[in-house]
Symmetry: C2
């Protein structure tokens, strides 16, 4: 089947660049001697998680328990949940999957820890606990240094929890365009994490595992030898914001744009303007407007939830009714979350369909 | 089950205000002698479409063919598709549901019309065609007057298509806050449609059906006696943008806020700041940031796809870990499209669950 035969809007992956992206990140981690645990929040797909495992991943990350439940049911058996899991209901759900998979979870709060230990005992499972340290993002996490040490003691004292290590993720700098700035910020973040790890080790607690990093800082994290595990997600797909960053000294990012949304022209209301079938429900807007591929001179505008518009300043729209236009999203994760499947293609031919089985699993 | 026992983030409907909203719009249409055909793009739910039918709706609108397919499979048998359906693949899909339901579709292009007629003949069905007229929005639609008449002739000349009438929707003015401004713009839009209808009737073509209007202009459309059918969608739910408009002279909008997203506090990283489990994947941002309900002094900020943050200027966060906070979306339609079900409640008790079966049906 040709791409032009697909009903639209449709979420596409160019398979060759996608697979090259996967290989590049795996090699970056392997060459640095760091474990590769890609973040499944970006793709929410069991098929892709399995490909990542096949490419050498030790497991995957999930942002939410609901994503982890879906992946465990599809035989993904080593998952780190990178957001706190709070309350008896969710903790009980977590223990259920911890009976059939290796589940680690981040913690930044002593009350959550105590409740988790109690639920673990009730359920008779012993999850791995990773202390989340705020290394500069100012979101979740205990502060580096003594607060992290105190929480580590609490984990060690909880009979039904294993102390696995620390997580430090500085999401705010992943898209900092300047390599010099991103490098300084990323090294500072990793430094806060390794200093905290040293403090915990000096106190006599066992600590090997330092997880974190994202697609934007992965090259820095690999070089700075602080983290033992990398958590990149968006590198598989890229988006127009990621693609703009300077990778390292003078180089552009080596990951290719594999993800696009294909839309169709559904109306030609006047010369110089066409309407497409892709609105806010078909491509995300939180990162800004998407970019049309190979339509020189086109100016994009959302036309509400169901439509968008391309206008041409010369008054000549080169597109005909039902012509297809591919768009690069500004934010891959939130665009993927709008769809139930990826259509993988190569050379204009559909080659595979991958379910986004964990789409919408926000709980 | 109490709301506080639900895992979050979760999409809630306060059932009593929701039902009052439904009744108010039905009465507004009935009192004006206008048909009530609510837009299912807002809720994408067969259960709600059936309730609307029960409340007197003649049928529903769908924005996309895929929504219509889902609703037809759930026994909703009278649907107007308000966006052009383009290309042989989609037209063939449309004829399949037109075999088991009354399907009307908008058209604004002669090539689309010719292709539709050919596919209709092949499939042996005769869909109803509604000419979309651009009454000021500048999106899809033929221009009012002679261009609409010429397309009406083409529909009349197509053996396998029924000419049903005209659609004119001015989406850009639905949220114009000032009643005076919205009233003037809405009457202008309806005037363009009724003038076009008069022209078509004078040419000897049969024309009874004029459909359009939205939640914001419904009170004006009902009073101006131009449309024969109203297409409101968001009135069921409301959102913070709709709630701000002046309804008619001096009155605020009579529809109540029935839709919220309930989130939980998952981290208390420092005094005066808490993190919730609701990010860009759990409430839409295209209309701006959502508003927390009953949390005085809280300042909201998105914290990426999975988190958000409330800060308190006095440095005192009144919320504890796992406390629940309800949020009013700025855009109900795009928020609903993130979820697979509504949880309906009354007095803090869950009373029903309605599937959002057409979620994500963008094709």
């Amino acid at each position: 089947m040709k791409l032009s035969q697909l009903d639209t809007p449709v979420l596409l992956i160019e398979e060759d660049s996608f697979l090259r992206n996967m290989k590049r990140m795996q090699e970056l981690a392997t060459n640095a001697g760091i474990a590769y645990r890609p973040h499944a929040k970006a793709h929410k797909s069991a098929e892709i998680a399995k490909m990542q495992k096949g490419a050498g991943a030790v497991g995957v990350c999930c942002a939410k328990l609901g994503e982890a439940e879906v992946l465990v049911s599809h035989e993904i058996k080593d998952i780190l949940i990178t957001t706190p899991v709070i309350g008896i209901s969710k903790l009980t759900r977590m223990m259920q999957i911890a009976k059939e998979a290796t589940i680690s979870v981040v913690v930044d709060n002593a009350d959550n820890l105590a409740e988790m230990a109690a639920v673990a005992q009730t359920c008779g499972v012993r999850p791995d606990v990773v202390i989340e340290v705020d290394v500069g993002q100012g979101r979740c996490g205990v502060q580096p240094g003594d607060p992290a040490l105190q929480l580590a003691y609490e984990v060690m004292n909880a009979d039904w929890l294993n102390f696995k290590g620390l997580q430090g993720y500085q999401g705010a700098i992943q898209m900092t365009a300047s390599f010099v700035e991103r490098n300084a910020a990323a090294r500072k973040a990793v430094g806060l994490l390794t200093d905290t790890a040293d403090l915990i080790r000096k106190a006599g607690l066992p600590l090997e595992y330092l997880t974190g990093g994202g697609s934007g800082t992965s090259v820095i994290d690999a070089a700075s030898a602080g983290l033992t595990e990398l958590q990149p997600g968006g590198y598989l797909f890229m988006d127009s914001r990621y693609r703009e960053i300077e990778w390292d000294d003078g180089n552009s990012i080596p990951f290719e744009q594999s993800l696009t949304v294909l839309a169709s022209v559904i109306s030609l209301p006047e010369p110089g303007r066409c309407i497409l079938d892709m609105g806010l429900k078909a491509i995300s807007s939180d990162g800004g407007p998407p970019s049309p591929v190979d339509v020189p001179g086109a100016v994009f505008k959302f036309g509400g939830e169901e439509h968008s518009e391309l206008t041409f300043e010369d008054g000549k729209c080169p597109l005909a009714l039902n012509d297809k236009v591919a768009f690069v999203p500004t934010h891959c994760d939130t665009t993927v979350n709008l769809y139930d499947r990826f259509i993988a293609y190569s050379d204009d031919e559909v080659v595979d369909v991958w379910s986004i089985a964990a789409r919408g699993r926000v709980q």
